[in-house]
Every structure is written in structure tokens, then in C-alpha cells.
């Protein structure tokens, strides 16, 4: 009977049968219990959202369901029968597929090649049956309205299209239950709408979708059922019809919903950071940041909005001196264009990097050594050529206390901390040297609501003390809420100035994709080469 349920491919299955049941799932890692007594029932044909702070254990739970981790305790039932997954292969065989937050696509292959990679249809045992693959992809794409054409190169696709390829890849392998891990993180509002249309199409055809997110308004829009996870365990299952975003957030954190609003202007007339004609070239000589100029005054937050991969990362690295660039950068009146990274940091630039694992932390080193990182020439970390252990340790204690870094102690390795706590440590570290300018790249990405509010508070407080902040974020609410002025970056150029007081996320989203900007603005940029959408996300593969 259960097997029969799997084979009812197109007929809409009754939405009362559970597709996935988790009972008493517990998973422990060294130093932390990631999941504790998780209970979850996902009905067939539902979009079931799982919400929770980062570090609440959503990702671990999904890894368990996808066979990447084995639970220490508990039972997983798929379509009513208990299963035990050893590898993702087992999960795929049971009809479960996962669309990862960071796309796992090879840019230089076509859509078709990416989709069949690893499960190529054979012709005569040796050759790959491209015709069959193309037929099947076409079929699936049409059946679910995904609109994926098999023969384009992935590098020519935008982020939304890449995501549809990922979804198709999973469907191609026969998945009837899809796990989507933070699928909207890299999308602009318009793309989110398209994705949600696709998801509704999928569930109409009887598929089940498990949707992981911490963007509550999106969850409320798309989900048929919501389960809230807090501190590793399921705390509530709610119907999106009976709940508000505020109530959901309270369930997630057990406290009030923070807001990024900063309306009182603290902007002064002293320019802290001036950038003039900054151009960054890629290895092939193509400009990835082109002729960018701006000023940030003391007490001002300048937000840069843009779809990821439009030159933000390169801009930041150029300002930090990690990447060669043309043009001039002036810090507090001094031309720092020729300075090395360390000297720029000493000169008063604080840096919250986009990818904290790659650029912000030594994961295998204790917290107090991480306090020294980037500040290894300054007190209280060093005395002359010597590391001042006592000074660094005492100051790490202070950061842990003042920034509420939740850790058993400062001798714990950084990798033992949750993302939010790692980020709070970084923010604390960068703030403690009293910087003139702070480059904050996605300061609250992958961070839970509680930590997000804390980080926003710290940024606001520092701004009030006269800090100049360059804020780069994919979270449009954060950008609009925190920024005193906003610029939109598209294909490496600043294409628009936006007033954060009046702009809506939708308008900003349009400007980011170039939809509403004057055509004259984009035509020259369009000939520069293929869009680099999503490549930054592909590089930042922090999921193991």
C-alpha cells in the first residue's frame, strides 16, 4: 500500500497522509546537542516550513533526513514505513531530494550535463543517452512549469534559473519529497515570487516540500504548515492562517521581534572614507567593479544593494587592500590606496567579512586567538613582538561578556560555536579597536534573530559614536532599515542612489535587477560579459 503511494505520480494525493514523520530525533555533536527529541509530521502535498534561528538545529535536522548525518536516537518514517539512511543515496532512493542553499552546479557545463551528472542514462552500457536525458528533462520541466532549457550553459543563467536547475536535478532523480534549504537567501523579491509559483506547481502535482527558512513573511506566504524549532527541539506546529509573523518570531526566540530601524540621523559632515574611480579587474582584465566613487561620513551608514555577484565582494576586498585596484581610497584624509591590508586595518578600518569561515575566523583555534586575528599588531594582544596572552585573554572575556557570545569559555575552538555566536565574536573584535570605518559585509547573514538584533544594536551604537559604516547586505529590510543612504550596484557599477526613507523592498529589488533603471544605464554594462550571478554563492561553500 505504501509502495502504491509512491507510484501515484501525477494524481494529487490526499493531503492527509503523512509523507515524512520524525519521532524523537536526537543528534549530539561534541560540545552541543544539535537536535533533541524532534517531532515532525509533514503531510503529502504540503509545503511544510521549518523555521528557527540559525543554530537552532534546522540544518542538522535536514542533514539527518537527507542521510548526511545519522541520528543518535529516534525514528524516521517515509510514507509510513521506517527508514534508516546511511548516505544521501539512500535518501534519494526513498524519494527525498535536497536543494542546497549554495548551488552545487558546474558553471562550465550545460544545464543538461549538470542535471545528469552522477546519474547519466546509458546507451548500450557505455555511451551517455543524451536524447533520453533531454526528453526526460523537458518532460519534468513542462510538467512542473519550471521553464528550464537543457542546452544553455549554467554560467549564463541567473540565480533564479540556477535554482530551478537545482530543483530539476532533484526531480530528475525521482524525488517526491523536496528539501529546500534557505532557498530565498540569494533571490531578489521578484525571483522569490517566481520560486513560490514553482513550489505551488510542484505541490499541485502531489509533491511534498520541506522549506527551511528564517524569513517569516515568506514562510507565511508559501507554507501550508509551519513547525518552529528552538534550541534544537520542535516547540510548536502552527497553521499559517492562524499566526502572525510577530507571533512566529516570538515562538522562534521567545522574545520580541527586533527591527533594524535607525531613523535619527547621526550623519556628520566629516568624510571618513572617500572612494574615487575605483576599478577592480578580474584575471582576464574584465572590470568587475567599474569606476565606483562614494563618500561615507562619520556617523553615516552607506548601504550597497545589489544581487550577489555584482561586484560587492570585489569592492570590499579592494577597500581592504586584499585585491589590486585602480583609483584612490582616502581614509580620514589620508590616501591609503597603496597601503597593505594590515596598515589599513591599523589605520582604522574594521572588517566584518562576508564569509566568516573563510575570512573571519581560525576555526581550529581557541576564541582568544581569534581575538588576535586581524589585530595582531595592536594592544591588548601584543607587546612589541610578543603575544600578550593575558591581555588578549582578558579582552576576549570582555567581548564574550559585552557581546553575549554564548560559549563555555574562551579556550573553546571557534568551530564549536554556532554561526550567530561566531559572528558576535567577530563584531566584538572589530569594534574593540575603535575603528573609523567599518566594512560590514552581510553582518547578519546566517545569524539568528536574537543575534541579529544584538548586531544591529551594536552597529547603531557605533554609528551614534561617529563610526562610518559601509553596509553590504542581501537582506533588503536590513539595508533599508540601517542605511542613511543607499546605492545600488549592478554589474560592478553604481547605477542608482536611493533614499532609504522612502524606498520599498520591491522598488529596491527592481533597481537591483536593473528592471526599472533607465535603459541607457545598462546597455554599456550589458556588453561587459556574462552576468556573474550566483558565483559568489557557489564559491562560499561553507556547508560541508
Amino acid at each position: 500500500m505504501e509502495e502504491a503511494a509512491i507510484s501515484t505520480s501525477t494524481s494529487s494525493a490526499p493531503a492527509t497522509e503523512p509523507a515524512v514523520e520524525l519521532e524523537g530525533i536526537t543528534k549530539r555533536f561534541p560540545g552541543v546537542v544539535a537536535n533533541r527529541d524532534i517531532r515532525l509530521t509533514v503531510l503529502r502535498g504540503h509545503v511544510h516550513a521549518i523555521v528557527g534561528e540559525n543554530g537552532a538545529g534546522k540544518s542538522t535536522l535536514m542533514k539527518i533526513l537527507y542521510g548526511m548525518q545519522r541520528p543518535d536516537e529516534g525514528v524516521i518514517r517515509v510514507n509510513g514505513s521506517p527508514v534508516s539512511f546511511r548516505t544521501p543515496g539512500d535518501a534519494i532512493a526513498a524519494g527525498i531530494g535536497m536543494v542546497h542553499q549554495h548551488f552545487m552546479l558546474a558553471d562550465n557545463l550545460t544545464v543538461l550535463e549538470n542535471i545528469i551528472l552522477g546519474s547519466e542514462p546509458r546507451k548500450g552500457g557505455i555511451g551517455i543517452d543524451f536524447a533520453a536525458a533531454r526528453r526526460k528533462i523537458k518532460e519534468i520541466s513542462d510538467a512542473y512549469g519550471l521553464g528550464v532549457s537543457p542546452d544553455v550553459l549554467v554560467e549564463d543563467l541567473g540565480v533564479g534559473a540556477r535554482q530551478r536547475v537545482e530543483i530539476l536535478k532533484v526531480l530528475y532523480r525521482g524525488a517526491r519529497i523536496l528539501i529546500l534549504d534557505e532557498p530565498t537567501a540569494v533571490l531578489v523579491p521578484q525571483e522569490v515570487d517566481e520560486l513560490f509559483d514553482n513550489l505551488r506547481g510542484l505541490v499541485r502535482e502531489g509533491l511534498t516540500i520541506i522549506f527551511i527558512s528564517h524569513k517569516l513573511d515568506e514562510v507565511l506566504r508559501v507554507a501550508d504548515a509551519i513547525t518552529v524549532i528552538r534550541r534544537g527541539t520542535t516547540v510548536a506546529s502552527v497553521d499559517p492562517g492562524d499566526v502572525t509573523a510577530r507571533r512566529l518570531a516570538e515562538l522562534m526566540v521567545g522574545s520580541e521581534l527586533p527591527s533594524p530601524e535607525t531613523r535619527e540621523s547621526t550623519v556628520t559632515d566629516q568624510v571618513a572614507l572617500a572612494v574615487r574611480g575605483l576599478t577592480v579587474r578580474a584575471g582576464d582584465g574584465r572590470a568587475v567593479v567599474e569606476d565606483v566613487s562614494f563618500d561615507i561620513r562619520k556617523g553615516e551608514v552607506l548601504g550597497i544593494a545589489g544581487v550577489e555577484g555584482n561586484g560587492q565582494a570585489e569592492l570590499v576586498e579592494a577597500i581592504m587592500g586584499m585585491r589590486p585596484a585602480e583609483g584612490t581610497i582616502t581614509l580620514d584624509g589620508a590616501d591609503i590606496s597603496a597601503w597593505a591590508t594590515l596598515r589599513r586595518r591599523e589605520g582604522g578600518i574594521g572588517y566584518i567579512p562576508e564569509d566568516r569561515h573563510r575570512h573571519g575566523l581560525l576555526l581550529g583555534a581557541p576564541l582568544w586567538e581569534n581575538r588576535i586575528l586581524g589585530h595582531q599588531t595592536r594592544r591588548p594582544n601584543v607587546k612589541g613582538p610578543w603575544i600578550d596572552r593575558a591581555g588578549a585573554r582578558a579582552d576576549t572575556e570582555r567581548i564574550v561578556r559585552e557581546y553575549d557570545v554564548r560559549t563555555p569559555g574562551i579556550d573553546v575552538d571557534a568551530m564549536a560555536l554556532s554561526g550567530g555566536n561566531q559572528q558576535k565574536l567577530i563584531v566584538g573584535r572589530e569594534m574593540s579597536s575603535e575603528p573609523v570605518v567599518l566594512i560590514a559585509s552581510h553582518p547578519t547573514r546566517g545569524v539568528d534573530v536574537g543575534a541579529q538584533a544584538a548586531i544591529w544594536d551594536h552597529l547603531r551604537a557605533a554609528r551614534a559614536r561617529g563610526l562610518a559604516v559601509l553596509l553590504i547586505s542581501a537582506d533588503l529590510d536590513e539595508l533599508i532599515g540601517l542605511s542613511d543612504s543607499l546605492k545600488v550596484i549592478l554589474r560592478g557599477r553604481m547605477v542608482a542612489d536611493v533614499d532609504p526613507a522612502t524606498v520599498t523592498p520591491e522598488q529596491l529589488g527592481s533597481a537591483m535587477t536593473g528592471a526599472t533603471a533607465e535603459p541607457a544605464d545598462q546597455l554599456p554594462a550589458a556588453s561587459d560579459g556574462p552576468e556573474r550571478l550566483g558565483s559568489a554563492a557557489a564559491e562560499a561553500g561553507e556547508e560541508a
Binding site: 549530539r28 555533536f29 561534541p30 560540545g31 552541543v32 546537542v33 533533541r36 543518535d72 534550541r231 581592504m320 587592500g321 586584499m322 597593505a340 591590508t341 594590515l342 596598515r343 589599513r344 586595518r345 591599523e346 572588517y351 567579512p353 573563510r358 575570512h359 573571519g360 575566523l361 581560525l362 576555526l363 581550529g364 583555534a365 586567538e369 588576535i372 586575528l373 586581524g374 589585530h375 595582531q376 599588531t377 601584543v382 613582538p385 610578543w386 603575544i387 596572552r389 585573554r393 572575556e397 564574550v400 561578556r401 553575549d404 557570545v405 554564548r406 560559549t407 563555555p408 569559555g409 574562551i410 575552538d413 568551530m415 560541508a544
Partner: protein, 378 residues
Amino acid sequence: MSSSFTDRLLGRVRLGGVLALAAPVLAVVFAGVVTSIILLLNGNQPFQTLGLLLDFSATPSIQVLILNTATTYYISALAVAIGFRMNLFNIGVDGQYRLAVLVAAAVGGAVTLPGPLHVGVIMLVAVLVGGLWASIAAVLKTARGVSEVISTIMLNAIATGFGAWLLTPGRLAVLNGNNVGTKPIGPSGHFPGIALVSGTQAKVFGMIIVAAVLGVAYHVVLNRTRFGFDLRATGRSETAAVASGINVKKMVLYTMILSGAVAGLVGLPQLLGASYSYSLDFPAGLGFTGIAIALMGRNNPIGIAVGALLWSFLDNSNDILDFNGIPKEIVIIMQGTIVLSVIIAYELVHRYRAVAEQRRVSRQLSTAAPTEPQGAAV
């Protein structure tokens, strides 16, 4: 679980408390079992074999030999370990020390200076030549991106050829009977030995003190200085190092040269304490032994000392086995087994620690509420 195998292999992940002891003990036991099996397969008694080795090594003259060889091994392993801590695989310690000791011996033989100064000059020359030779690989890596593994291996071969060319009469060598070697260093250039072991005329190399000082310096520089922090940070995460303002290319250059400079000293205990001349029969291959010992000692100065002593013990006491009808090559198998055992044992202990910690946490959670922020834990 979340640390990489290389990190654990090169000792960048630490073990605490009893576990730090358990790993080496486990390794010795494991190596003992494997060697015993091999001995038994060859029809020899494991305990008898070990007894022979231990008895023989108790002879005072052998003890001096063990200490002397271990001194050399220790310096070599330190040189390798400096690179390891930064993910630099200096396979070229061998070429670096052979070239360094050759030139240092020639300079030492050519000049006569007051005692300590003479020794100092020889050491300085050795350090400079070792560092210079290593800097070739460093420059290749920083300027052209050449893997230091490839370049140092090739530089080893070049050092062999270059050394042979230098070591001909008319260049740096003189004919000495049947042997070709550098002009012997005068008495003022000898490093006085220490009569550490009673019951024998043989003296322990005075360079053992230099080796010990190097070990302390290695620890202090790596763990207590800014340079050491930059070095370790670069080894842990090059991307984070770059973002923090560390000039990674400069660090590669400095570390490689430092490693080569220490490598330059590897041949000096032998040169200044026994042979006083570099000739064709000067010990070779010490650089490769150093790699094995650095791995075995997990880049820890004490661990390396233990490894060097163990290796030296096996190398110097094996002659007795032949007299008893046991092939002495068995010690080479032992040495290989020990290195592998150490790697396996540490891996096992790391995994055990992960499981134990999970249990501990779950126990804590069942008895107490989830951990709240804890500000002042030292």
C-alpha cells in the same frame, strides 16, 4: 569531526589531559603488536629481540651514539616542523643541510679564528647557506606559484650534483688518502663534547645544547610571538590570514628560509663534534628521517625529542641483531610501523574524544538546564 585529517595529522588540533598521553601509548602498543607479528612470521621471538636491543643500547658507548644521532635527527625534524606548522612541506631539508655543511666545512677549514668565534662563523655560514638554498624554493612559490614539494625535491637532486661538483680537489676539497673531503677544521673550530655518559671515552656532542635551545626557541617563537601567530594563522587558514592583513607571501618566504636555516645546522653536530671535515662518507638522508620524526612528534618540540631518541635507539642498537641471527633490517620495519601507528593512534583518540564529549554533553543536559552564557571562565 569538523577538523580536517591534515589538521589532526600535523598536530594543529590539540588533545588535552589524559588523552594527550593515551595517543602515544596506544601508538607504541600498536607498533609493538605489528612488529611482533612480523618477527614471529620470521621465526623470531619479539621479546627476545627487544631484550637484545635494550641490552645493547645500555652499553655506554651506544648510549652516547644514540644521543649524538638523536641530536642530529632532532634538528632535522625541527626544520621540517617549522614548515609543517604553516602547511609548507619542506622536503628539501636533505639538500639544504648537505650543501650547508659542505660549504661550512670548507669555510671552517680555510680559516683559523679564536675558539668560539671559529665555531660561530661555521654555524653562521651553515645557517646562511641552508636559508639561501631554501629561499630558492620560497621565491619560486611566491613569485611563480611552484609547489614547494616539487621544487624542494628537485633542489635536493640539484644539491647532490652541485655538492659533488664542489667537492672535487681544486674546488672545495682536498684529497685525503682514498677519501675526498674538505680541509679538516682546526681544533679552534671544534665544538667541545660533553662527558655525559660514564663508562666510556666517547663524548656526547656539545651541539646537543644547541639542539635543546633550538627546541625551546621553536616553542617560544611559534606560540609566544607575533611572527609565530602569523605563521600558525596562515597554516590554519590562508584566506583568514589574508583578510587579517598577514602578508602570506612574505610569511612563505620567511618560514621557508627559517626552515632552511635550521636545516643548515643539521650536519653540524657531526661536523663539529666528530668528523671535522665534509667528505663523501658524510651521513646523508637525515632530512627524510626528519620528516618522519616531525610527523611522529606531531610538530611538538617534546614529541620530536622523544621521536628522535626512539628513532636513534633503533638505528644504533640494531647491529646486535645480526649477531643473533635476526635480520637487522627489522628495525626499518619497526620505524615505519611506528610512524603509521602514531598517525592511526592519534586519529583513533581524536574520534574517541568526539564520542566521549557527546556523552558528557548529553549527561550534562539531562541533569541540568541548557548552558547559559558563561562570562568569566578561565
